[in-house]
């Protein structure tokens, strides 16, 4: 028999201390790197203020990072802007980045999402770094007080997120409309069409499977018997919610890829593959 130190209970372990034998640090590290990469790329694209729409071969593709496009980027008419050019009243001293008008919506939805909260509390705050692993801080206030009590605002990001899904679905439809040489529009499908439609589907799966939607659609009630439509909706949302993490990551990666694809096409580096 041998002895190896001692401790008291309940004990508090130091940062990263654990008896776990598995590679517990892999998951938070991957989350940290993936979310950081996305934030850096999205910020870069919003600040880049260009390459967000593509008209090659008659296509009408719009990047989801800029959709809905409220105002065109100065000097870059796209045909997608809801209100046309940059408003004349816009102060000259404030830089004009149309992406920032809308990125607060999906950004806020994801920042306050229950899945992402659990993921980034671990990856960015180490609170805890992973299950049964020691933390760097002794104090803890959780989501009971400011600032994290603000996470309860989640549903107020969810409502506009639903509208964003409708807009992105419309973008998918528009991506099936190609302009011919004579100026008329006709149905067509390019690789970009599929990418943009897939983006709307994945974001829809993420948004409509969120815990907030599940609560609002029926989870808030204790009895759904006798309400077959509401029951069906609740079951449907619950089915999406079971894979919420998968929807969250696949939609995040795909929305970034969609923007990247359109950027590469718009910059001339790639040519959209027209399927028919």
């Amino acid at each position: 028999m041998t002895t190896n130190g001692d401790f008291r209970l309940p004990q508090t372990r130091g940062f990263g201390e654990t008896a776990r034998r598995d590679r517990w640090w892999v998951q938070p590290t991957v989350v940290f790197l993936a979310l950081s990469a996305f934030i850096v790329y999205a910020t870069f694209r919003a600040l880049e203020n260009g390459y967000h729409h593509y008209e090659g071969g008659g296509a009408q593709y719009l990047s989801p990072f800029y959709s809905p496009l409220l105002f065109d980027v100065p000097g870059d008419p796209s045909g997608h802007a809801w209100f046309g050019d940059k408003p004349s009243w816009w102060p000259a001293l404030i830089p004009f980045f149309p992406a920032f008008f809308i990125l607060w919506g999906p950004g806020g939805m994801r920042f306050t999402c229950y899945y992402y909260r659990g993921a980034y509390y671990k990856a960015f705050w180490a609170d805890p770094p992973n299950c049964a692993v020691g933390e760097p801080r002794k104090g803890y206030r959780g989501e009971r007080s400011f600032p994290l009590i603000m996470q309860n605002i989640h549903r107020y990001f969810f409502y506009p997120a639903c509208a964003f899904i409708a807009v992105l679905a419309w973008d998918g439809f528009v991506a099936t409309r190609f302009t011919g040489a004579d100026g008329s529009t006709h149905f067509g499908v390019g690789l970009g069409t599929i990418i943009i439609c897939m983006n709307a589907i994945l974001l829809g799966g993420y948004t409509f499977g969120c815990h907030c939607m599940r609560h609002l659609i029926g989870g808030r009630l204790n009895a759904l018997a006798g309400k077959p439509i509401q029951r069906a909706c609740y079951d449907c949302v619950s089915a999406l919610n079971k894979r919420h993490m998968l929807w969250a990551w696949s939609s995040l990666v795909w929305v970034g890829f969609t923007d990247f694809y359109i950027r590469m096409c718009a910059s001339g580096a790639w040519t959209d593959w027209r399927i028919f």
Binding site: M1, T2, N4, Y121, D127, A132, Y140
Partner: protein, 250 residues
Amino acid sequence: MPKATFRIWRGERGDGAWVDFETEVSEGMVVLDAVHDIQAEQAADLAVRWNCKAGKCGSCSAEINGMPRLMCMTRLDTLPLDEPVTIEPMKAFPHVRDLVTDVSWNYEVKKRIKPFKPRPPDAADGTWRMAQEDVERVQEFRKCIECFLCQDVCHVLRDHHKHDSFIGPRFLVHTAGLEMHPLDTEDRLADLKEKQGIGYCNITKCCTKVCPEHITITDNAIIPLKERVVDEFYDPIAKLFRIFRPKKTE
């Protein structure tokens, strides 16, 4: 038969040390079998709580290689036996002796939760009517065997010792089972927010990961309760709608 080393924490009331035991292992053994062998052959005074050996009584909770698990449900062939298997008592509760902790705090917490309060009977014979589909939702929460592994892994209790202001995942599941019951008329939301500290949960999902009954604690119990607390206390539009909606019928 091959041998494996088990590094067991031994001591009393928090004072103690790791002790290595080597014992024979065979196909189909679980960690509790090895502990029993050690108890029978090498350390007759080794304290360990156990009962059913079938994952249904929730007695043999411990930390095996650093993760909260039931000793009786952890097969040795799922562990790397080329290095010592560590077995420790749970960390979120006061230590008694060796692998035994005092979990009585949990029973005190349970007493503080408002009990089931059904609406008046639906029929003259004193019985109620409810749809199976509505009861199914809370059936999941009734699978809990009170092993308290979820309490042990929850960092709010384990690392921050918020036992006075947070009831932990086990009792959030218990509260969900009452609060979401189709016959229940009690309102526990103010208690959840103020006294029971649901806001401390930061959704790490560790409780769900360690649950031996595979209850979806976070997604099906805690988050729905959090959403109900939002309805009640943080959502001005929901508050407005509530003015026009009748409360739970008694």
